[in-house]
């Protein structure tokens, strides 16, 4: 008989090993899926994971890595606090959109301003505030009405998505855009443009914010009482209550933190790589960031690595789409599978397998 036995303490070794194992298993099963689709499996895996970094056109793809990883890391860092404390903000995608709308809306309200020193910093503040406010809706509703923050935050993703459509077609539409949907391009608005800081590196202010968030989160979690309270609230809510940690305040702080960072990510994206408020602006970073957070073990450094890995699957996925005509959905499936396998392998962190006969009680 194979039986699972609870470990007295979660295994450190397995908590590091299981993400790696999950990635390997996903590559193998993903390869089988690609083979079933009639694509060469080894070549497909190599196209996704190797070519963007070391292939022929790597110099073009490497900057993209930073561009794609930055929002994922920024959002996932915010989510990780809530996830640790058992507060499930699933609506980062919506907060990301609202951050972009707030930031772009603010900048466009002052069009054409020359005062970059004023506009751009305030855009960051306003964008962050947009995501924060959007996340406060599920937060406050949970605190005051005991509604489920998972459902409310998710419903607000759809609301935000329609809001984006409405803004792209209405209030924020480019008055000189000949009637096409979409706002003015912020890339041509120097005061608001989140440009590359060093040409052809992909390094923009959002990337710097992401790195800063990783460091800040690390310090907060390991050196600050807030980080301790977050871990306490997650592992033992009762103990946290006795220790004087207010559960309601924890909800609001964690929702605000994740919403604010998601909003900031959205603002950097709309002002930089994307440039425009358009219906097609959001590409699911808010959801992929959930995978990033778990794959990174809810730990800042882990999230940093996981963010790059997921960014790689986005870029490699696009490459595989061009070179091998691999359907876009295959990459989505691939990302979902990764989280699945991670959760499956994770059993080894908390349990050990015991072979032998079951004892008769």
């Amino acid at each position: 008989m194979i039986a699972l036995e609870r470990r007295p303490q979660p295994s450190r070794a397995w908590s590091y090993l299981s993400p790696l194992l999950a990635v390997i298993v996903t590559m193998i099963v993903g390869g089988i899926v690609f083979a079933a689709l009639g694509k060469p499996p080894v070549e497909a895996i190599r196209t996704i994971f190797w070519d963007p970094l070391f292939g022929d056109f790597a110099s073009y793809f490497r900057p993209q890595l930073l561009v794609k990883a930055a929002p994922l890391i920024l959002i996932a860092i915010g989510l990780s606090f809530g996830f640790r404390a058992g507060i499930w903000n699933i609506g980062a995608e919506g907060q990301y959109i609202m951050g972009a709308l707030f930031g772009a809306g603010f900048a466009l309200a002052f069009y054409p301003s020359e005062a970059r020193w004023l506009i751009f910093p305030l855009m960051i503040v306003v964008g962050t505030l947009g995501g924060l406010l959007w996340a406060m809706i599920p937060g406050l509703l949970r605190v005051h009405f005991r509604t489920n923050e998972i459902l409310v935050s998710l419903m607000l993703v759809y609301v935000a998505d329609f809001m984006l459509d409405a803004m792209a077609l209405g209030l924020l539409r480019n008055p000189e855009g000949m009637g096409f949907p979409g706002s003015r391009n912020l890339q041509q608005y120097p005061a608001a443009h989140n440009a590359e800081l060093i040409a052809n590196t992909g390094m923009h202010w959002g990337v710097i914010a992401a790195f800063f968030a990783v460091v800040a989160a690390y310090i907060l979690l390991s050196r600050h009482v807030f980080g301790f309270n977050v871990r306490l609230a997650g592992q033992s809510p009762r103990a946290a209550a006795f220790a004087g940690v207010s559960a309601d305040r924890m909800v609001l702080i964690c929702m605000g933190l994740s919403g604010g960072l998601a909003g900031m990510a959205g603002m950097f994206e709309v002002a930089g790589p994307s440039g425009q408020v358009l219906a097609s602006f959001n590409v699911g970073y808010g959801f992929t960031a959930i995978i990033v957070a778990f794959l990174g073990r809810l730990h800042p450094v882990g999230i940093l690595l996981a963010g790059f890995l997921m960014a790689l699957t986005y870029i490699g996925g696009e490459l595989a789409q061009m070179n091998l005509q691999l359907p876009r959905s295959a990459i989505q499936l691939f990302q979902g599978m990764l989280l699945f396998f991670l959760l499956a392998v994770d059993v080894m962190t908390n349990f050990r397998i015991r072979l032998g006969r079951k004892k008769v009680a």
């Binding site: 699972l4 036995e5 609870r6 689709l37 499930w88 699933i90 809706i137 509703l141 009405f145 005991r146 509604t147 489920n148 998972i150 459902l151 409310v152 998710l154 419903m155 607000l156 993703v157 759809y158 609301v159 329609f162 809001m163 459509d165 409405a166 077609l169 209405g170 959801f287 959930i290 995978i291 778990f294 359907p327 876009r328 959905s329 295959a330 990459i331 989505q332 499936l333 691939f334 990302q335 979902g336 599978m337 989280l339 699945f340 959760l343 499956a344 994770d346 059993v347 908390n350 349990f351």
Partner: protein, 304 residues
């Protein structure tokens, strides 16, 4: 704007059709949650069901086979969830999210070559006498078979949960899995059953969208219906009959906003389209009542 173009009888009739997918999915989730399992993967199972429904009905030319295939697809996906949460003891919230993300990708992959497929016609039932009744006839008795399957399932689930011994055991497992285990009930086995019933129902609900409501395949076509179904379970206080009420409420909002769009209300379409989601939130805030099953969402391991 021309509100007189909205026919109240047609509105009520289409309300029943619009609420059926949510009703089916919510019913399955209700059984799973009464057994103590929180499966947040409803959206993923629904969309997979929608894709499977199109595929099976396009291949066989029979809508009922499509529904059966969709139920199977949803069931298989929920089996994955069951293995992960019940055998490998993973976190139910995270696994449910994974299931949704996975299901969205899987369905897009499965459905992409069926984008042009038109599902076979799904006939409306014509009941003697009943269908010809004034007012009630068009509202209640001129729908397709699945609408009534949904209603029958509500009654069946209500009967099962409140009037049978098996239902009592299932509820016991959901209320307190330690106690149920101590009494000798097979907690994991019962939960497997409940989860897979939920998966099959979600698959049916998804197929109803792709085979009847729309009817064709587009990526992400369930558009949050699975999440609304989850909300309705909370709204209904985990009671099947109130579930029906909740589903009709949302069906009503959906149909009304579509009718208002068609009538050319001066509000932009995007704001009207938000209304079902906003209504879900409002309902959760104002009306949410009832107590969740005691062991809902908790991992069970017979280690003590």
């Amino acid at each position: 704007m021309d509100l007189s173009s909205i026919n109240p009888l047609l509105l009520l009739a289409s309300l029943m059709v619009a609420s059926t997918p949510i009703l089916l999915a919510a019913l399955g989730e209700l059984v799973a949650e009464r057994a103590g399992v929180l499966n947040l993967g409803v959206e993923g199972m629904m969309i997979t069901g929608a894709a499977c429904g199109i595929i099976f009905s396009a291949l066989t030319g029979n809508a009922w086979v499509g529904f059966a295939g969709a139920a199977l697809g949803g069931l298989l996906l929920s089996f994955l969830f069951a293995v992960l949460t019940q055998v490998l003891l993973s976190n139910q919230v995270a696994t449910g999210l994974a299931l949704t993300l996975f299901g969205l990708g899987l369905s897009a992959l499965l459905g992409q070559s069926f984008a042009d497929a038109r599902p076979p016609a799904f006939p409306k039932l014509d009941m003697p006498i009943l269908s010809d009744l004034p007012v009630l006839g068009p509202v209640l008795f001129r729908h397709d078979g699945m609408v009534y399957v949904g209603l029958l399932l509500v009654v069946a689930v209500w009967y099962f949960l409140t009037r049978t011994r098996a239902g009592l055991i299932l509820r016991a497992v959901g209320e307190n899995h330690e106690a149920a285990h101590a009494l000798g009930y097979r907690v994991v086995l019962i939960r497997f059953g409940a989860i897979m019933f939920g998966g099959a129902c979600a698959g049916l609900g998804g197929a109803y969208i792709s085979l009847v409501r729309v009817p064709q395949w587009t990526e992400g076509m369930t558009a949050g219906a699975g999440w609304i179904a989850l909300a309705i379970v909370v709204f209904a206080g985990w009671k099947p009959v109130r579930l029906l009420l909740g589903a009709y409420l949302f069906g009503g909002v959906t149909v009304l906003q579509l009718n208002l769009q068609a009538a050319g209300l001066a509000i932009p379409v995007e704001y009207l389209s938000m209304s079902p989601y906003v209504a879900t939130i409002l309902v959760l805030v104002i009306l949410a009542a009832g107590r969740a099953p005691g062991s809902l969402g908790k991992t069970f391991h017979a280690s003590r």
